[in-house]
Subunit: 432 residues, 2 copies
């Protein structure tokens, strides 16, 4: 009788668990994800900044798992985990399991102000990356058309809320884009007048990095025209900008790179969660009281090592996915499970061309060597050889030309006759 | 005093007129388009069928015209042509002109049934290509999840309305995808059971081609599993399929490749138009009574040569754009204008790998030679060297692997908290 393993989530944790379990005898695997693709999230900001296309950083889950005959992939939503009866209730039927792996990740958190999302999209999915891309490019187009200088200033102002790696990467990209790439393309505006703000609540940006490196990154950002505001907590966001206590910035485009919260799938088991909703797991990555349910990746709170809890990084998710799969295999062989031990791969953040910071344990470096290391690591971990070639070529092209390849504004509304649809908040003024 | 030339539309006609007028002394050019990019429409079906990404076939207009200092590009809508006062009223201000070039193209026509658009998207823009891609891929995902065989059959049924080159290319792609590319990726369904219909009202498909070639194309389609229904006019389209007189096909996905109608910009001049709204032009491509207003591309009806009127093909638009620009330059030099003469570049349609048809005058061929010629021509006319390299690589990869590169389903709704937006018809069940 084959053992049935259900994996919810096809990100770094889920896909790497699946690959270990793939083609193992006596195991049937079902992987469920709301999306049909695996996303290389570390490079998502490049899609948002028009440097890469969506196909460059995402691969259909079916393709990645096609050669594992014992793995079935469904695009769908897991609505409820019935831990008593060991059944996952989805929007397309009930899936029984012997072992369950939760790897659903996180979404953005607006600190109780979900209405801010409309004005300040986050960056966790391809759809969001394209929405951000659209807003940034539309701002420049509108500025080119504008006649009022105050309106123009607002259009050429970008606020990034959150000074972690994602916020720094977004701000650095807009800095590079405005100071270099766009400079010759407009006739009415000077893109170099773009104002870019990083608004960070903590006393410094890049809090997870060594203070020296964070300080170097701040200087690199300033050289690209980014203004870094620390000890600045956003108190309100609307369509005209952000309020920071008594201070205010008028901006047409606000991007959210602060605060995440875990996806809620699995909460119904009653498992204990931390302040941001992550499920607290045992040393073997299972839920206390539920040895047949594991949690890996950003959705898990693993606090049994030097770093407690482990941060929400791609290498953590990847290693946890593999460890969970191996523990299940050990279980099936009647052997004891192994406690998870994270092999620290360090962390990196990039600001712009030749400007990055890298830290592994006590090793720290910045500048061009860090940037090339960043490139190599990201190329290496891309989903397939084809992705590596294409991304390498895109980057090669951009490196020598400072060109951003995929700077297209694609309308959200594809309809030519939108009046035939009753209500349509995405209706663009510019229908095409 | 510089002469002001306004071009509305950045497609083949508009962009090629702009390039001729670019950097000419004493000329200021303003190009307005609702989109910020030039689209290589002949390959749009490949984006719809996940074979290419959007960045492969589109280039930002600013980049294409960056080196022409006398050209200003605005992303916007021309709302009204005031021919009396020689002013274009746009959604961002009034633009006066000495010469006006209308090159707005066409949109799909539903024969008075605009409510069909929701169930049967057309293929004229990137947004539509991605909507089609989404629907096709979602159909396969839903079929994989389905338990009811009748529901499954409907999900694995695709109807393409219209048997011209676009319809044939879409149908052939789905045929190839289902019989080859997808075959190993699903566990619950056999993609080779996909039913694909071309529904054409005329007695044969590809009416603009020689009957022999059209017949060969029909056989090629059948070999890919496509069922060709001719003398079949669609009488109704709803969310469950199409009605063809007394016959009915239940299909989850219907695509519209029949009927186009010209964009209405310029109609207010009172110019005479044909049955599908195209403005009838003089031999020099100007509007009768308005020698300073020209029309080129799909929006024009030019009926002064062997083919009357000229068909809506890319080479026609390209040549007309250039001819208009040259006639304006002749005008400014006080010389007589030249009548437009189309140099017939023939026409082509592709069905699948190694299957295409090509016809120039009396020269006709099909099969692999036609297919390679098709590839070369399309590569040649792509917007830039970079596009050519990337598309060549994508095709090279697919040729040897039958892989379709960009098979990603990206949700239309990017929001995680959609309840914060009052009404949202694009809300997906699967939020991600």
């Amino acid at each position: 009788m084959k053992k049935r393993i259900v994996i919810i989530g096809g990100g770094f944790a889920g896909i790497n668990a699946a690959k270990i379990l793939g083609n193992k005898k006596d195991i049937e695997v079902t992987l469920i994800d709301r999306k049909n693709y695996h996303l290389f999230q570390p490079l998502l900001y490049q899609v948002a900044m028009s440097a890469l296309g969506e196909g460059d950083i995402a691969a259909p889950l079916r393709n990645m798992l096609a050669n594992y005959r014992n793995i079935t992939v469904f695009k769908g939503i897991a609505k409820h985990i019935d831990a008593e009866n060991k059944v996952v209730r989805t929007d397309f039927g009930n899936i029984p399991y012997d072992y369950l792996i939760l790897a659903c990740g996180v979404k953005h958190h607006y600190f109780g102000n979900n209405q801010w999302e409309e004005h300040a999209p986050g960056l966790k999915t391809l759809a969001q990356a394209k929405e951000i891309r659209r807003r940034v490019l539309e701002a420049y187009e509108a500025a080119e058309r504008a006649s009022d200088p105050v309106e123009r200033k607002k259009l050429l102002t970008f606020v990034i809320v959150g000074g972690g790696p994602t916020g720094v990467e977004l701000a650095g990209s807009i800095g590079e884009m405005s100071r270099y790439t766009l400079s010759k393309l407009y006739r009415q505006i000077d893109p170099k007048l773009t104002r870019i703000f990083i608004v960070e609540a903590a006393p410094r940006i890049l809090g997870s990095f060594d203070p020296d490196l964070a300080s170097k990154a701040t200087r690199s950002l300033e050289k690209l025209g980014v203004q870094v505001w620390t000890s600045s907590m956003v108190s309100d966001v609307d369509e005209n900008g952000v309020q920071i206590g008594n201070e205010r910035i008028e901006a047409a485009t606000v991007l959210w790179a602060a605060g995440v919260t875990a996806i809620e799938t699995g909460k119904e088991t009653g498992a204990e969660t931390d302040r941001i909703g992550r499920i607290i797991v045992e040393e073997d990555l299972s839920i206390p009281g539920y040895p047949d349910i594991f949690v890996g990746g950003d959705q898990a709170n693993f606090a049994h090592g030097i770093q407690s809890p482990l941060p929400g990084l791609a290498p953590v998710a990847l290693q946890q996915g593999r460890a969970i799969a191996k523990n299940i295999i050990l279980d099936l062989k009647g052997k004891p499970r192994k406690p998870f031990r994270y092999t620290d791969k360090g962390q990196m953040a990039t600001i712009g061309k030749n400007k990055a910071i890298l830290q592994i344990g006590s090793i720290k470096f910045d500048g061009a060597p860090a940037w090339f290391a960043w490139l190599l690591v990201h190329i290496y971990y891309l989903a397939s050889f084809k992705h590596r070639i294409f991304v390498l070529m895109q980057w090669g092209w951009s490196y020598f030309t400072f060109g951003f390849g995929a700077r297209l504004i694609v309308n959200r509304d594809w309809r030519f006759y939108p009046e035939a649809v009753a209500c349509n908040p995405d209706r663009e003024k510019n229908q095409s």
